[in-house]
């Protein structure tokens, strides 16, 4: 039905959620979320604290399980996919940017960016060369050899974005990417996200608390108590 809707709108659905539910004990955190996101679309996810935004994002990223419903990314059904298939999905198609950056502390900035490529079995030289391109795109060339604990918040998030996009994902999940940054740094990060996702044709789902952040998105989805309150509006 939702696929049908998306087709009617002339777009290809890339991410589809149908009645997704998840509970912790008897507390329902996601209560039947349905949502269709087209390829290349940028969606902002807003809602009060505890409404289930991060949980939804984790389910989309395949790092958390849901109880009922269907999540499809491309042609992969997350609910029935094997652990192996999920791993492959995370390596090749989905990338995440976190509020707290979560850089790998033992790796230099360049190595952090190149790491997903190394993980995909790309030879070190090639991976590092590709990583360097991403340093340029994210404006980190001058900090390439530094380690995460030597970076400012904005630099850390740039590095996290470089790491997320280096392996060429189709879907970028961002959980409050500017939540830990001052507003001018946050603005630059948002610009960077917009430029890069547009350039690479990447679908973006971004959780945010700031109204201004939604400017880089095509539409905004609101959540309340585990439900999408303004259903699919293009």
């Amino acid at each position: 039905m939702f696929q049908g809707l998306a087709r009617l709108g002339g777009m290809t659905a890339y991410v589809t959620l149908e009645h997704v539910s998840k509970s912790y004990g008897d507390r329902e955190v996601l209560a039947g979320v349905s949502l269709v996101i087209s390829a290349g679309e940028r969606v902002a996810l807003m809602g009060p604290s505890g409404s289930g935004k991060s949980t939804l994002l984790n389910c989309l990223g395949g790092i958390d399980r849901f109880d009922r419903g269907v999540i499809r990314i491309g042609d992969v059904d997350l609910g029935s996919a094997s652990g192996e298939a999920l791993t492959r999905l995370r390596r090749k198609q989905i990338a995440t940017v976190f509020q707290f950056f979560h850089l790998l502390p033992t790796l230099s900035v360049l190595e952090n960016a190149a790491f997903p490529l190394l993980l995909n079995g790309i030879p070190e030289k090639e991976a590092l060369a590709k990583g360097r391109e991403w340093m340029e795109r994210t404006g980190l060339t001058h900090r390439m050899t530094a380690y995460p604990d030597q970076l400012s918040g904005g630099e850390m998030q740039r590095c996290a974005i470089a790491r997320a996009l280096a392996a060429g994902p189709k879907l970028l999940l961002a959980d409050e990417p500017t939540g830990n940054l001052d507003s001018s740094t946050g603005d630059k990060i948002l610009d960077l996200l917009e430029t890069l996702t547009r350039e690479q044709g990447i679908t973006l789902v971004m959780v945010t608390h700031s109204e201004t952040a939604t400017r880089i998105c095509d539409r905004t989805v609101h959540m309340l108590d585990g439900k999408v309150v303004e259903p699919v509006t293009a």
């Binding site: 949980t55 790092i63 790796l107 790491f115």
Partner: protein, 855 residues
């Protein structure tokens, strides 16, 4: 996925090690200490016991059976009879004489062996390092040199000690005069057993020591495939000329051998403790590392790293640690062995006059074993944390929700009951009998392990109760209340720390109890053994079966000597009892003062031997009791030379010197029964004002055929050795506490890391560094109190098992169970104090953990 493994190793393991070299170095050193203690003890042990053994077994170690005479030397014309007793069995007889001769101002052993017989020895006879040369170029030299000429073949130790080389001339003195000899050959280093040995041709040695008509012993080497089992030996014994006795190396046990065997076994237990303890430490530290790096693991998982890859990466980390730690440990261990052996064997060497090998300190096999065990231990210890790392749920961990190690074993008291039950069953099993008749109490060890495991599960039930009790003492203390609330629902990590602490304490306590009992028993026994000021035996006397005796005239002269206040002497005779070899002792005890360690003491002690009644009152040793199953009140019938002596057992005494059991009667009775009054050993008690040394020298000159030992000096030296040897155990106890406490520290730090969100609340509520330190100190202190107390209680049980099951099964004798109360108390205080300190330190660290980033 080898490329992947290398990737993780280079980008994570190696990087983490480089980022915090200090803490990883500590980890490597901790493992190193475990491996070093293991290796050091084993090497030192090897070297020291090798020395012990050299003491008695100088020649013929390769001979499975030996013929000796009960009456004295074996007359040469009985050799034909001995050969006949072996019938059609193809054996080579190797007769030898062994005497002490003077070289310079010391005395050395001169051994004469039959060169012709040596040439016929089966190939295998010399393989174990006995001094029998093999039929190759070496033995060609050996044979040529020895035929007719006064040429000696000496051991490398002898060459070093006396600065001799091939071609040197030397003079050896005996009662028959002084004779010139020449060094013809120095035995290969491989055959050196650490003693100064001088070998000559049998005929020449006999001529030059006035012993043409007899030999001391005949070693018997069967040709390959010839059976020398128990039944064959019984048959041969029956066919031997009267007065000759067949014995196997097992029956020629001596004090030094049983004691060293006991000590070796107990030290092995100690070295294992060191290793177990480092296994526990590695487990704790790797687990702490997993908690610390939980975020990194979660990110990796979200980047698409598989759980198995995470696990493999952590196992690789454990492997790296194992290799580095073992390498460091081997270096430290060899050093440790150098130092401790230096201390121990130095004294042993003085004690037994003969030199001890100090070269045998490097053993490739021991080093490899230690390396393998070190690496194996760290892999084993890495397994749980690696599994925990792989199970990290990325979503929750990126929000930093901590989880504890799932250890189901520690959650079920039922398992405890099961383990204790299995342990109790194991303790009823007999020991395994290994090749060579060695008894290995495998089930005893298994039972002890099961007991400790069971107790460690039970102990996890205690902390909530202990915490409640402590809390009642200080109800107003908020931090104590907080700590107690943490202990009310123990996490897996708590349980692991507690169980580890308890087991480490129990093992250290058990070993300490064993050593305490061992020391108490042995010193008391040695005190009895070495009571006299001077100890006299005939030259060449080594054990009850040794044929040489003190001539009766010499004994009577000695007893009447002006300096002698009192004396005690013993007649000894190897006998057959119920078809087994045993010893009959005729004891002439002092009127006053002599005692034994009794398992069953007659009302008036040794004086009971002088009672006269229908049956002869006798005492038996503990091994006799165990072998023949007879006890107090039973009748013993001893037969020898067609006569029978009927005795009634009146008491049982402990004897750690030999395993085959002795029966003791009054010297007069035994002399009459044997028709022979020659004394084997004689102890002289001098008048108080006598200079023991001077009297010794005087007597030694007056009686050159006797061996006069200054026992007072010997006694002091023996005690010094024991003190030194036992001081090793103090170090191990220290390691035990250090490890247990380090484990507690690591786990407390992990607990704080896991409770970061709670920490933030505490800080917001106004808990400063001091309060957090107090909370940590209470929490760890209560754990340490619980673990330490229950560990020491468990050690009472472990000590009981070690003494009454393991030692008894292995050696046939019982130590006196003695609890080192003072040392236990000090140990407990140290543990609780160190535990609280560790908790305080972790609280201090927790206070500087960043919490701003928490959601």
């Amino acid at each position: 996925m080898t490329g992947g493994a290398a990737l993780f190793w280079r980008y994570f393991t190696l990087r983490h090690w480089r980022r915090s070299p200090g803490s990883h170095a500590v980890l490597v050193v901790l493992l190193g200490v475990g491996v070093a203690a293991f290796l050091g003890i084993r090497l030192a042990n090897r070297s020291a016991t090798a020395g012990f053994e050299v003491f008695t077994e100088t020649l013929g170690a390769g001979a499975p059976v030996t013929v000796e005479s009960a009456a004295g030397a074996i007359p040469v014309d009985q050799l034909r009879g001995i050969r006949a007793a072996f019938g059609v069995r193809s054996v080579v007889l190797l007769p030898s004489v062994q005497t002490s001769v003077r070289l310079g101002d010391g005395s050395v052993d001169l051994v004469g062996i039959d060169v012709v017989a040596v040439r016929n020895l089966p190939e295998a006879a010399g393989d174990d390092g006995s001094l029998v040369p093999r039929t190759d170029a070496e033995s060609a030299v050996f044979q040529d040199a020895l035929r007719g000429e006064p040429v000696l073949l000496i051991s490398p130790t002898a060459a070093r000690r006396f600065g001799l080389s091939v071609g040197d001339a030397l003079t050896l003195g005996s009662d028959s005069g002084a004779f010139a000899w020449r060094v013809g050959f120095i035995l290969p280093e491989a055959l050196d057993r650490g003693a100064a040995i001088f070998l000559g041709d049998l005929r020449t040695v006999q001529e030059r020591t006035g012993r043409e008509k007899s030999v001391d012993r005949v070693d018997v080497f069967p040709m390959p495939g010839v059976d020398m089992g128990e039944s064959v030996r019984t048959a041969v014994q029956a066919a031997l000329p009267p007065g000759l006795l067949l014995s196997t190396p097992g029956e020629r046990q001596s004090v030094s051998q049983t004691l060293s065997a006991a000590f070796r076994m107990n030290l092995s237990a100690l070295s294992l403790l060191a290793l177990l303890v480092s296994l526990y430490l590695i487990l704790q530290s790797l687990d702490a590392a997993v908690v610390r790096r939980r975020e990194e693991i979660a990110v990796l998982r979200s980047l698409g790293v598989r759980a198995e890859q995470i696990k493999a990466a952590w196992m690789l980390e454990a492997l790296t640690l194992g290799i580095a730690g073992s390498a460091v440990g081997i270096l430290m261990g060899v050093l440790l062995a150098r130092v401790s052996v230096g201390a121990v064997t130095e004294t042993l060497g003085n004690l037994y006059v003969q030199g001890l090998s100090r070269g045998a300190l490097w053993s490739g096999r021991e080093v490899l074993t230690a390396f393998g065990l070190g690496v194996g231990a760290s892999l084993l210890a890495g397994w749980l944390p690696a599994r925990d790392a792989a199970m990290t749920p990325p979503a929750q961990s990126l929000g930093r929700g901590g989880r504890s190690l799932p250890i189901q074993l520690l959650d079920h008291p039922l398992y405890a009951v099961l383990a204790l039950g299995v342990g109790a069953v194991f303790l009823r099993f007999p020991p395994l009998v290994l090749a060579g008749g060695v008894r290995f109490p495998l089930f005893g060890y298994l039972g002890a392990t099961a007991f400790a495991v069971g107790m460690s599960i039970l102990v996890c039930l205690l902390p909530p109760r202990v915490a409640k009790g402590v809390q009642n003492l200080r109800r107003e203390d908020a931090m104590l209340r907080l700590a107690a609330s943490q202990l009310r629902r123990l996490s897996g990590r708590h349980k692991l720390a507690l169980a580890g602490l308890m087991i480490a304490t129990a093992m250290a306590g058990g070993i300490s109890l064993l050593v305490h009992s061992f020391r108490g028993t042995v010193t008391q026994w040695l005190d009895g053994q070495l009571e006299a000021d001077l100890f006299i035996s005939a030259r060449g006397f080594q054990h009850p079966g040794s044929p040489v005796r003190i001539p009766t005239e010499s004994r009577d002269l000695l007893l009447r000597h002006a300096s002698v206040a009192d004396a005690e002497y013993a007649l000894m005779q190897r006998i057959r009892y119920q078809d087994q070899s045993a010893v009959l002792v005729g004891l002439s005890a002092r009127r006053e003062g002599s005692e034994r360690i009794w398992l069953h003491r007659p009302a008036d002690g040794l004086a009971v031997l002088r009672e006269r009644g229908e049956r002869v009152p006798v005492l038996v040793s503990e091994p006799w009791l165990r072998r023949f199953g007879t006890g107090v009140g039973d009748v013993v019938r001893i037969e020898a030379g067609g006569r029978t002596l009927e005795g009634i057992i009146r008491g049982v005494f402990a004897d750690y010197a030999n395993e085959h059991g002795s029966v003791v009667a009054d010297a007069g009775v035994v002399a009459a029964f044997l028709g022979e009054d020659r004394t084997a050993t004689l102890g002289l008690f001098l008048r108080n004002d006598e200079d023991v040394r001077a009297v010794r020298d005087e007597l030694q000159t007056a009686f050159p055929a006797l061996n006069v030992r200054d026992q007072r000096a010997l006694r002091e030296e023996v005690f010094t050795i024991f003190q030194q040897t036992f001081s090793v155990t103090a170090a191990l106890k220290f390691i035990g506490v250090a490890v247990a406490v380090a484990g507690l520290l690591l786990s407390q730090i992990s607990l704080f890391l896991e409770r970061r969100s709670e920490l933030r609340v505490l800080k917001e509520l106004g808990c400063g560094r001091r309060e957090l330190m107090a909370a940590g100190a209470w929490e760890s202190g209560i754990l340490a109190l619980t673990g330490g107390t229950s560990g020491l209680l468990t050690s009472l049980g472990l000590g009981w098992i070690l003494i009454y099951v393991i030692n008894r099964q292995a050696f046939g004798w019982t130590l006196r169970y003695a609890v080192p109360l003072g040392s236990f108390l000090a140990f407990l205080i140290a543990i609780v104090f160190a535990g609280a300190l560790a908790g305080g330190i972790s609280g201090h660290k927790a206070a500087s953990l960043p919490v701003e980033n928490e959601e």
